[in-house]
Symmetry: C2
Amino acid sequence: MTRKSGDASRSTIRDVAARAGVSASTVSRVLGGVYPVSAATRGRVMRAVRDLDYVADARAKAIAGVGTPTLAFVLEDITGPSFAHMAHGVEREATRLGHLCLVCSTEGDVRHELEFVEMMRAQRAAAVILVGGTADTPEYRERTHRMADSLASAGSRLVLCGRPPLDPGAPVTVIEYDNEGGAYTLVAHVLAQGHRRVLFLGGRADHTTALGRERGYLAAHRARGLTPDPSLLLHGDFTRDAGHRLMQQALKDGLEFTAVVAATDMVAAGALTALHEAGLTVPGDVSLAGYDDIPFARDLHPALTTVHVPYEELGRLAVRTALERTPGAADEHLLLGTHVVVRDSVGPPPSRSPR
Amino acid sequence: MTRKSGDASRSTIRDVAARAGVSASTVSRVLGGVYPVSAATRGRVMRAVRDLDYVADARAKAIAGVGTPTLAFVLEDITGPSFAHMAHGVEREATRLGHLCLVCSTEGDVRHELEFVEMMRAQRAAAVILVGGTADTPEYRERTHRMADSLASAGSRLVLCGRPPLDPGAPVTVIEYDNEGGAYTLVAHVLAQGHRRVLFLGGRADHTTALGRERGYLAAHRARGLTPDPSLLLHGDFTRDAGHRLMQQALKDGLEFTAVVAATDMVAAGALTALHEAGLTVPGDVSLAGYDDIPFARDLHPALTTVHVPYEELGRLAVRTALERTPGAADEHLLLGTHVVVRDSVGPPPSRSPR
DNA sequence: AACGCCGTAGCAACCGGTTCCCATCACGGA
DNA sequence: TCCGTGATGGGAACCGGTTGCTACGGCGTT
């Protein structure tokens, strides 16, 4: 095999042209493939290309209007399993449609988010996908509306994926999944087993994801004519550590409950461990349910009853909807369904008095 | 607030110049910040910039040599927890150093990998980070060596992260972690409990990650003067489903063992569920250990004894080493240490005869 | 044999920026 | 009053590509 020794400086189209004894335009046309070029010339050019190991500069092509388009993906932390699945969906669909995929994690910092969106505008990204719930404040809507306008005026498109929609009029594509409905069905299932004091181990108090699931929790109670004890709503964040800590605290405080519905499977995992540590059995002493249906849920012991969310599909849809959109069309707003996955962690309450 | 109505076509530096009544060079200088410009002119320019919501095209800047550099990250599937943590480390360090971060998942397809690396060469990425073990064949070394040369000649740099090193001479940075050492210590710990028939639930048979861990398994046996029964080495892939299936099969086949060492925590999770389903207790009947120390490991029941791998640090180091490298310097080859995390899933073998 | 057409390749303009180099202007000192 | 000088801003070349338009040469046709 011929191995080029470190040429160090990348060669330009003019270098190739010189070596092939043709003009730069001819090289461009040979590489472009459509314009008619004689076999002899094509051969000489291809030869030179191979000799120099030449690849056209994608940035230069982009500025001339013929580049590989790019698409950006902004999330808080790719480490969370549900985010990772969305990222996977986004990435797969992006490459399927011939786009490159930029990633940025904001660590929850709004300034990072703004900076990154600005960079994406500069990059002329075809679409910017903002992922994950957040606090739905007027400030959020204002700021995000501005980002949407700003991107739109640059020919790009903002996509909100699992993130609260904006006021109508914002040039934005929204893909959501049904937090409230899933939680409603799940909690209804728990209540149907006979539980009456169900602890809700929530995520961040103002976070739309947690809030939606909390609404479902409340609605399921109301549908049965029940009003849940407000002291059964606990908040933290979405990590397994939060679930663990919250559960320990709840047990220590002597809170009375026979079932726990966690805001996410991660929280449920931590809570489960805390229950085990306290010597309680699941679902014998306490029933437990999660949300997200991450792959691990079935390996908890007992296997976790939870709500399945089509995260990967969500990601795929986000990019497809954004990229296949016809510029003049109305703004899309999709809502994906979820469904409960019944496993072994929810059973009837113990016959003795609840702890 | 003033909201620009959909300008549709992004404005250029000349538009700004025209509006401010100056030349394009002046706008460039105002935005650049260093060149002396009078306060009045600067004001007019900034005004025009704001009015038009102008952002300089990053691609055009890049081609002129003053762009935000980019860095690429290629992995098989971001869905795996350990990959996700590496990705997180890479992304954080990249943005810390002011780089953009492109991602691509290959789904294990070599052609995708090649295509993507070629695209990254076209993008003039500062570095391309290839992540995760693979089959270490001559073909692999050949192909990867070519990629390294090709990238090097384009001024870019290939980084192998947790992937087998190449023959000396390839312009490549290698960051590995100690698969063999971690497995050695882990298996030594298991053997010290008195186990003599330890099942190794491996990943893909030819995969360097699995192979390294397998070597540690064997070495730990040899160090005690033991020769493990070859039929105790099982192969599949790295998913929880594989672990589940393999374990079921082993039990059905009546394989005799008192402990299981899984190639990854994911595999261990599936295996654990299969053990539970078979009515076996862990570690009472069978001990179980994993590898990777993913966050979930401590929420398995019993909490999983495993080997901690500093995945995020690995990712961070990969980008730092690649980007802070002085062009002429020798090729780096880093080997990160691992350590065993003892939890509750490994205990002494049952006193009765092994199953 | 002359004409015209078609296939092929080159020139130059352009994409959207940056920056070198030079012209201009105002100002202070001699 | 004249000149040197430093502060500013413009013109044009350049980064590395693409592409519209044009020119040239060889071929078939009448």
